[in-house]
């Protein structure tokens, strides 16, 4: 085996609460991708959620308490990787905002944030992975989830890796950069507005006639796939990591269990 830039790197996987609860297969796909690239992956048990629900609801005290827990659990790793742009953005961009400059936690948050990456961008930008060995016969379309796109600059990375998946054809949807209407608690606090937004999204998705919808965030995927299902659409939804890891034998999001 040739040496990879990742050899010997200890990566702590931040699973994200939605992956943990709803779709463990994304977590295992992330582990496979990281291990294939040469990392040794560990999953600290002391993680729960990144704290976004509290942070975005104005509950700063709880957001801070949760952030302290996450930082403590992950401080010992070379890198912290999350299969989500939104949670990645929270850990990387917003944790530092939770502590005042003179707070003893400020420095720890700063050091922590430097080590955090979203999964796909970690593979391409840090580990310099240029291709995957997976194959996937079929057409897919890719939605650029907002936080990953605008907070972390994730746009080209997943496309670059998808281009190396054998048999896969990417069909770009119109306005792939427009929000799907999920927005964390937004989608349940303002369901009708959220519905109007996701309806425009599913129309753009359907227009590509792709068989599968991919994205890097489970929240957005659950929103869009839930809407596609309600509309009776046959389009399947998957986290991009599942396709990149070649782990598509599990039922798609919201599909019947076999």
């Amino acid at each position: 085996m040739t040496a990879s830039p990742a050899d010997g790197l200890r990566v702590g996987l931040f699973v994200t609460c939605l992956v943990d609860l709803f779709r463990p297969s994304v977590g295992f796909a992330a582990v496979k991708l990281l291990e294939d690239a040469g990392c040794s992956v560990e999953v600290p048990a002391a993680q729960t959620c990144c704290g976004q629900p509290a942070f975005n609801s104005g509950d700063r005290a709880d957001a801070r308490a949760i952030a302290e827990g996450v930082i403590r659990a992950f401080e010992g790793y070379d890198y912290v990787v999350a299969p989500s742009g939104s949670c990645g953005g929270m850990l990387k961009k917003h944790y530092v905002e939770l502590f005042d400059a003179n707070d003893p936690w400020a420095g720890r948050a700063e050091a922590f944030s430097a080590k955090v990456f979203e999964l796909v961008s970690f593979l391409t930008d840090v580990l310099k992975v240029t291709g995957v060995s997976a194959s996937h016969d079929g057409t897919v379309t890719y939605h650029d989830s907002c936080s990953g796109l605008r907070e972390l600059g994730i746009k080209a990375q997943p496309r670059a890796l998808l281009a190396t998946v054998k048999g896969l054809e990417l069909r770009e949807m119109k306005e792939s950069e427009v929000c799907c209407g999920f927005g964390g608690t937004f989608c349940v606090k303002y369901p009708d507005i959220s519905n109007s937004i996701v309806s425009r999204k599913t129309a753009d998705i359907a227009a590509t006639q792709a068989e599968t919808l991919l994205a890097g965030d489970l929240g957005c995927l659950m929103n869009m796939s839930g809407k596609l299902k309600r509309e009776g659409s046959p389009i399947k939804a998957r986290h991009v990591a599942e396709v990149l890891a070649g782990m598509t034998d599990t039922p798609a999001i919201g599909e019947k269990r076999r």
Partner: protein, 478 residues
């Protein structure tokens, strides 16, 4: 202006059901976005210019008192008058006093969001003075008895078909058989009707995009030239502007102008950029005899030094609302006050109180597109989050949200307990929904399942499976 922001939720539902509005909003989604993108792509230094714009405004806001004093001195030296208005009511009264002194009956107006903010038209009408809006969009909504739904395109919610009907209803002196099929014929008709009004007016009121401290000049940009006629033809010109419009120099304003039209309408420059300094001088062929500036505070100075100060950089280009998925869904009226969209979600609670406007900063997906396009680099989502924090601190967050949140946070702070709860939830929901793949309805999840299915969990949590895998020497659990 009276606020309907507390009824935001209801406003939104009505807006979603309004098919005429929905078809008008399609125009916002396509036109504005495309034009801005083209204009920005054609100016390589656009992003660098945004930094310059931000620096200029930040510097000005840090020394606002000095620049306002300088501005006042220069206006006075040019023969004009500066009036300071702390509240909207003060500003209205100052306008009325001026109008009364010159026996004004008709007042023409250029487009001014500040005049909407202080409810000037209604106030003047109450005092038997007729305000006439001269901007086409403002004219249309005045005919309809409405308020603007967008800060640069006030009548963007109205379809062409509706404008035609309004013109036929109001312009009864014109041939009923006339052809009004084209936007240009509508524009032509409005121009003809307004022409007489410009000459009738005793006072002209405009807003200001910039107030230049160095020269005492006010700057307005328009695309119709109506602002020029409004400020030049009447005997008295009143500039109504809020404090933060001041800019140190003409050069500063020129830099920011390069951002404004590109961000707003995708033009390099607005068709007219008009500068006025004081009343008509002896050698001038035209211009007003009196020149007044009303400097409105109405809550701005309280934003200085607060976490909302950066909002005062706003140049009212409208790019944030043009790119906002929530605005695209419900339009501007649903926000319930003068300023809609993301900028309104920050500004409105600052100006009328978060008790009134608490919904607005919450009704955002935080997709961040507003901040990505804002020419003045205003961190809009961050400031909306600050409002949510103020609401949370003051117990204004709805009780159900608070309880749900505190239960969740209780668990999120206790990993062992959290893992247990997650295992139970994933197992239970997976068992319930796995056979079908998801839920069409679920108790307590009505907000989600009203419009979407809820995908069922796979059945076991990742943490649980991972632990088993470690125990089994790395074999994947079946």
């Amino acid at each position: 202006m009276q606020s309907t922001s507390p009824r935001f939720r209801k406003n939104a539902v009505e807006a979603l059901a309004d098919s005429e509005l929905q078809s008008a909003l399609r125009h916002v989604r396509s036109n504005f976005i495309e034009k801005r993108a083209k204009a920005v792509a054609a100016l390589p230094e656009f992003d660098a210019l945004r930094d310059v714009g931000r620096q200029i405004k930040d510097h000005t806001l840090a020394h606002l008192d000095l620049y306002l004093e300088e501005y006042e001195a220069k206006v006075t030296a040019a023969g004009g008058h500066v009036h300071w208005a702390e509240t909207g009511a003060d500003a209205c009264q100052i306008v009325l006093d001026i109008c009364r002194r010159v026996n004004a009956r008709t007042v023409t107006k250029g487009k001014s969001m500040v005049s909407e903010e202080i409810g000037l038209n209604a106030f003047l009408e109450e005092h038997a003075i007729v305000p006439v809006e001269t901007d086409l969009g403002e004219y249309i909504i005045q005919l309809r008895g409405e308020h603007p739904s967008h800060i640069i395109a006030p009548a963007v919610h109205v379809t062409q078909r509706q404008v035609e009907a309004d013109f036929r209803r109001v312009h009864t002196h014109l041939d009923p058989a006339r052809n009004l099929d084209e936007p240009t014929t509508l524009l032509g008709e409005a121009r003809a009707v307004l022409r007489d009004r410009y000459f009738q007016a005793d006072v002209g009121i405009t807003g200001a995009n910039f107030l230049i401290a160095e020269t005492g000049t006010s700057v307005i940009v328009t695309n119709e030239g109506n602002g020029d006629l409004t400020q030049i033809l009447p005997r008295v010109h009143i500039v109504l502007a809020s404090l933060e419009k001041v800019t140190p120099t003409l050069e500063d304003a020129a830099q920011i102008l390069r951002l404004l039209a590109r961000s707003a309408t995708g033009q390099d420059m607005s068709v007219y950029t008009t500068l006025s300094t004081g009343p008509r001088r002896a050698a001038d062929p035209d211009g007003p005899d009196e020149y007044h500036v009303i400097l409105l505070d109405n809550g701005r100075s309280a934003m200085l030094g607060s976490e909302y100060q950066e909002m005062l950089r706003c140049i009212r280009c409208g790019a944030c609302m043009n790119h906002c998925p929530v605005y695209h869904s419900i339009g501007g009226h649903a926000y319930g006050w003068v300023y809609p969209g993301p900028m309104g979600a920050v500004l409105t609670p600052s100006l009328i109180g978060v008790e009134q406007a608490g919904h607005l900063p919450n009704a955002s997906t935080f997709c961040g597109r507003c901040e990505a396009v804002c020419p003045m680099r205003i961190p809009l989502p961050k400031m909306m989050r600050h409002w949510r924090e103020r609401e949370f601190e003051r117990n204004l967050t709805p009780a159900t949200t608070r309880y749900g949140l505190s239960l969740w946070a209780f668990l999120a702070k206790r990993p062992a307990l959290y893992r247990l709860a997650a295992r139970i939830a994933a197992g239970g929901l997976g068992w319930l929904g796995g056979g079908k793949g998801g839920f069409r309805a679920l108790p307590l999840a009505g907000g989600w399942t009203r419009h979407r299915d809820l995908p069922a969990p796979e059945g076991r949590t990742f943490q649980d499976l991972w632990k088993q895998k470690q125990r089994d020497g790395g074999r994947m659990p079946q």
